[in-house]
Amino acid sequence: MTTATAPPSGPPPVIGAPHTYTSVTDKIAGIVLTQRTGRGWLFGFMLGLALLGLLALAVTMLLYLGIGIWGVNVPVAWGFAITNFVWWIGIGHAGTLISAILLLLRQEWRQSINRFAEAMTIFAVMCAGLFPILHLGRPQFFYWLTPYPNTMSLWPQFRSPLVWDVFAVSTYFTISLMFWYVGLIPDLATLRDRSQSRIGRVAYGVFALGWRGSARHWQRYEIAYLLLAGLATPLVVSVHTVVSFDFSVAQLPGWHSTIFPPYFVAGAIFSGFAMVIVLAIPLRAAYGLQDLITERHLQNMAKILLVTGLIVAYGYFMEGFMAWYSGNRFERYVQLNRIVGPYGPAYLGCLLCNVALPQLLWLQRVRRSAVALFVVAVFVNIGMWLERFVIVVESLHRDFLPSSWGMYYPTVWDWATLFGSFGIFLTFFFLFIRFIPMISIAEMRMLLEEERGEAAA
C-alpha cells in the first residue's frame, strides 16, 4: 500500500495506544452506546438550546417586524447577515476538505477527524443557509430563486452570482450530507449490532439500511466513496469561489478583484481548520481520545492553518499593492479607508488575528501545545469574521460618490441573530457526539490493518 505514511524514523504513528479491531470498536462505539451522559455534555447541549431560543426570538421578531430591526440600510444593505453567511460557509469548508482532499492525497491521519469535521460542515452550512433567506425581506418567497415552472413564465436570472450561490450552497449541502451519510453506514451497522436496547437496534438498524459488510458491497462502496471525494474536492473550491463572486462580480472598489476566488477559498479553509481545532481539542480531552486524535493530528492541522493563513495574508497584500499599482483612486481610497476610516479597528483586528498571530505557528513549541494552538485557532475564527465584516461593510459604506456615504451600526437583533446561529450549530453538534460515533470506526480498523501490514513488512 503506497501511503504517505511515516517511515520508521519519521513522525509518530497516527494511532497512539496499542489497539485491536475489538478495542477501537469498543472505545468509539462505547461513547455512544454505554457511556453515561456527562455533565459537560448536558451543559453544552443546554447552552446550545438556550442560544437556539435566542435565535427563535430574533427570527420571530424579524419576521414580525421586518428587516428594519437590523441596522442595515442604504448604502450598507448587506450588514451582519451576509458577513455571518460567508463566515459560516467558510467554516463549513474544512469538513469536506479534510474528508475529500486528504482522502485523495492518502493522508491517513484524516481518519480520526473526518467524521466530526464533516458533521461540522453540515451544521455550519445549515447556519449559513439561514442568513440569506432571512435577509430576503420576504423569506417566504425564497423559492423564487430556484428554476421551477411558474405561471409568470419567468426564470431566475442565471447571470447573477446570487443565483449561482443558491445552486452552489444547495449542491454543497446535498453532497456533503451524502458523503457523510455514506461514510456513516458501516458504523451505523456496527451500532445496530452492538446496541443492547431494542430502540437502539431499530433506530440504528433503519439508518444502517441492512448493511452486512458484504465484500461485494464494500467494493462498490469504496468506489462510490472515492468518486464522491473526487467530486467533492472541486466542489469545495467552487462553493467559496461562487461566494467570492457575490462580491467580485460587482464593480465596487474593494470587491472587484480577481484574486478574490483563490483568496476566499484559502480563507475558508483557514477558518474551517481553525474551527476543527477549536472543536477537536476540548473533545479529545473530554472523551479521552488522545490516542486517536494524537499530537500529530494537531501538528498537521496547525501546519495547514499556517499555509492557508499565509495565502490569506498574500491576498491582503496583493489587494493593497494592486490598489496602489492600478492607480485607481477609488481602490486606493478603499484600502486607506480600511485602515484609517471609521471601521479601522475591525481591519486592524483582522490583520492581527489572521496575519500576525498565525505566524506563531512557525514555532514547533506552539504547534505542539494544545492550549496555544487552541488560542490561536479561536483568534483566527474571530479574525475571519472581522475580515468578512470589513469586506462587506467597507466597500458599501463609502463608494464612488461621497454624497451617498453612510454608516452601519449593528443593532441588538443583529448580535442576537449572530449568537443565536451558534444555537443551531451547538445543538446539532452535541446531539451528534451523543448519538453518532464521532470517529469513523470502520476507517480506524482499516488504519490498524495498514499499520499492522507496515510493521510486518
Partner: protein, 385 residues
C-alpha cells in the same frame, strides 16, 4: 538514457540552439522588435522550468511522499541553468524600449498614468529588482543543491533542516515570482492590472516544472537503480499532481476571465479584447482545449498515469502548451506584435536548445537516486494502491 545518449542529446541541443541563435541574430538585424518579443517569451518559458522545479522540491520537503524522490534530482539539476538564464536576461534589457511602453521616456511624458507608475515602473528600479530576484533564486537553489549532495555523503544529516529551509524558501519564491511576473509580463500593458495574475503565473511555472521533470524522469528511467523509482505507483501520484496544477491553472485563468467579463470595466477588458483578435482567439480556444480539456481527460485515467510513455507524452504536450500560453500572455499586449513572425518559432529553439544543452551536461554521471533519505526505500517499494 545512458551517459553516451546524454552527450548526444547535449551535442544536438547545442547544435540546434547555436544554429537557431545565428538565424535569430540575423533576423534581429532586420526586425529587432520581433526578435526581442520572441526572446522575452522564450526566456520566460525556459525560466519557468527551473523556478517551478525548485518550488516543487521545496514543496516536497514540506509535504513528504514518495513521488518527490523520483523527481528530486532531475528537478534540482535545473538549478544549474539559472546563471545562464540570468545571462539571457541581457537581450531583454537591450530590447526594453521595444517591449515595455513605460521604458520609453516619450510615452511616459505623454501619459499621466505612466507618470504615476513611474515610482515603480522605471528602468533602474526594474533592473535592481531583476538582480534581486536572480540573487534570491540562485541563492535558494544553491542551498538546496548543496545540502542534497551533502546528504549523499553524510548519512545522518538532520532532515529537519530541509524542512526549516523549505518553508521560508517557498515564501521567498512566492514573493519574488509575484513581482517578477508583474515586472516582466504584466507591465507590458502598464495600464492594466489584475490581482490574481502573479498567482496564475506562478501556478503556470509549477505546472511547467512538473511537466518537465516528469518527462525527464521517464526518459532517464533506463538508468539503474533510478528506474526502480519510476514505477507505476509513483507515476500515478506525479500524474495526479500534474493534473491538480492543470486544474489550478484552468481555475485561475477562468475566474479571471469571468470576473473581468462580468465587471466589463474599460481599463480591464482591454486585456481580453487584445486577446480575442483573429488569430489570438484561435490560440485562446487551443488553450482551453489542449491546455485544459485534453490533459484533464487523459490524466483522469489511471491507465495513462501508470504508463510512463503515455504520461511523458501528456507532460510534453503540457510543456508545449505552456509555451503557447506564455505567447498568449505576452504578445497580444505589445503593439505591433499581432502578426505572426517566423522569429516566434526560431527564437524558442535558440533559447531552448542552449538551455537544454546546459541541463543535459549537468545530468551526465549524476546520481539520480538521492542517498540516505528514508523515503527512497519506500519509493522503490511503492506499488499500486
Amino acid at each position: 538514457m545512458t551517459d553516451a545518449a546524454l552527450v548526444r542529446l547535449e551535442r544536438r541541443a547545442l547544435a540546434v540552439g547555436t544554429a537557431a541563435l545565428i538565424v535569430a541574430a540575423v533576423g534581429a538585424a532586420f526586425s529587432p522588435a520581433a526578435f526581442f518579443r520572441a526572446w522575452l517569451v522564450s526566456w520566460l518559458f525556459c525560466l519557468s522550468i527551473p523556478l517551478g522545479a525548485l518550488a516543487i522540491v521545496m514543496l516536497h520537503y514540506l509535504s513528504g511522499g514518495s513521488w518527490g524522490i523520483v523527481i528530486r534530482r532531475v528537478a534540482e539539476s535545473t538549478a544549474v541553468t539559472l546563471p545562464l538564464l540570468a545571462l539571457f536576461f541581457v537581450p531583454v534589457v537591450l530590447g526594453m524600449h521595444v517591449i515595455y511602453e513605460w521604458a520609453e521616456p516619450g510615452a511616459v511624458a505623454a501619459d499621466p498614468v505612466l507618470q504615476y507608475k513611474h515610482a515603480y515602473l522605471n528602468v533602474p528600479f526594474f533592473l535592481a529588482r531583476a538582480v534581486l530576484y536572480f540573487v534570491a533564486w540562485i541563492g535558494v537553489a544553491a542551498v538546496l543543491v548543496r545540502w542534497s549532495a551533502e546528504r549523499d555523503v553524510v548519512p545522518d544529516l538532520d532532515p529537519r533542516r530541509f524542512r526549516l529551509f523549505a518553508g521560508p524558501g517557498l515564501v521567498v519564491y512566492g514573493l519574488t515570482v509575484t513581482f517578477a511576473s508583474i515586472d516582466w509580463a504584466m507591465s507590458i500593458e502598464p495600464r492594466w492590472s489584475s490581482t490574481v495574475y502573479p498567482m496564475m503565473f506562478g501556478v503556470g511555472q509549477v505546472l511547467a516544472g512538473f511537466a518537465f521533470t516528469i518527462a525527464a524522469a521517464v526518459l532517464l528511467r533506463d538508468r539503474e537503480p533510478f528506474g526502480r523509482l519510476v514505477n507505476p505507483a509513483n507515476l500515478v501520484d506525479l500524474g495526479n499532481l500534474m493534473l491538480t496544477f492543470v486544474l489550478l491553472w484552468a481555475y485561475l485563468a477562468f475566474t479571471q476571465l469571468l470576473l473581468i467579463y462580468a465587471g466589463n470595466i474599460r481599463e480591464e477588458v482591454t486585456w481580453y479584447l487584445a486577446r480575442e483578435q483573429p488569430g489570438w482567439l484561435g490560440v485562446a480556444f487551443a488553450l482551453i482545449g489542449v491546455h485544459f480539456f485534453l490533459p484533464f481527460a487523459l490524466l483522469l485515467q489511471r491507465a495513462v498515469k501508470r504508463n510512463p510513455v503515455a504520461l511523458a507524452t501528456v507532460a510534453g504536450l503540457i510543456l508545449v502548451m505552456r509555451l503557447v500560453d506564455d505567447y498568449w500572455l505576452v504578445l497580444p499586449g505589445i503593439r505591433g506584435a499581432e502578426r505572426f513572425h517566423w522569429l516566434y518559432v526560431v527564437t524558442p529553439l535558440a533559447v531552448g536548445g542552449l538551455w537544454l544543452a546546459a541541463y543535459a551536461r549537468r545530468l551526465r554521471g549524476l546520481a539520480l537516486v538521492p542517498a540516505n533519505d528514508p523515503l527512497v526505500e519506500q519509493a522503490m517499494a511503492a506499488h499500486g494502491h
